[in-house]
Symmetry: C2
Subunit: 188 residues, 2 copies
Amino acid sequence: MSQDLPTTSYALLGLLSFGDDLSGYELKQRADRTLRFYWVSPAMSQVYTELARLTKLGLVRAREDTTAPTRSTRRFQITAAGRRDLQRWLSSATVEFPALKHPIALRLLMGHLAGPETSVTLLEDYLGLLAERRAELQAVRDSLIVDPHSPVDRFRYPRMVADWGLDYYESERAMVVELIRRVAATDT
Amino acid sequence: MSQDLPTTSYALLGLLSFGDDLSGYELKQRADRTLRFYWVSPAMSQVYTELARLTKLGLVRAREDTTAPTRSTRRFQITAAGRRDLQRWLSSATVEFPALKHPIALRLLMGHLAGPETSVTLLEDYLGLLAERRAELQAVRDSLIVDPHSPVDRFRYPRMVADWGLDYYESERAMVVELIRRVAATDT
DNA sequence: TGTAGCATGTAAGCCGTTACATGATTGA
DNA sequence: TCAATCATGTAACGGCTTACATGCTACA
């Protein structure tokens, strides 16, 4: 009966659509491994809030793990209704253009205040961050091997998305190198 | 005296650091032409809220345009303190990694639910949006010509940022074309 | 024995949005 | 004269964060 949820809800629901059921804690970990690179990694508290909402809407179902005494681990799985809703969202929602918040580009814009040296340093620092990120995503990509137990290749699409990200990081790296050259060529 | 403002405040302040004074309305327009592509374009209401805050902090100053009778146009200019504060922010703040919210990548991740046809359509639609955006940014880039009245080239850095964006759009286009190929190669 | 990781949640608050409210000026 | 654009603001609220609160389990 859900009309329109925030995109992050569908994102988390989507992470539960790969066939396994996860605790809130595990869902957060999966978000950190995938969602983080092209959406957001929601805070733990939001993951639990979101799971509560999705449960109330009947899009996920909790399976209480009653082995533990006090605070039990609740594992969530997507319901048939949830899968339907996700499918509807995937085909119906109008596609928005990606939103980029790029602090480095923002700072470079004000290069006339910072000066060429500071701007070059900024870009060089960014190159470092970029290499780190790239390595993290590469590790994720490497773990997305063809699942031998699955009849269909579950990770086919996640692999494509990861490759997309890696390609993006590479093109950023190349352009930042070029920008450093251009800034350094400024006569002071 | 400002300790730490949200980044958008500094972004708007930065737009006022190019030498001319702007009304809230004009500042919004400038944000739409520049900031939009790699930060956010704040809502009109926020531009005015932000200008009020920056004024209270002494980082911008309003010059009342008393020619009009009732609702006068207030034009804002950056103060010396504002310029100092921006410079401090530019050199001190730790650089955060860019945050990307990419609804298309998010949807592609769930390609196993949507199916290859829907996924291809999604990517093709994105290609259209991308071309539009590219054209918009190209128009902005073309308007950033060397200012003959300015002793230093005011738009040198904005040009670099615009070129950066154009390069990004081009690399996205190429990768999306490749992704369409890969999705289409799926056996159904 | 104590710390890191697993595990779940509530409360307060920030940043920004949309909706609402108002009015002047310019040109078709 | 009517619509579009210029122009300025307030109110309500949404989405997400950080800070806080709690407790178990495994291992060094």
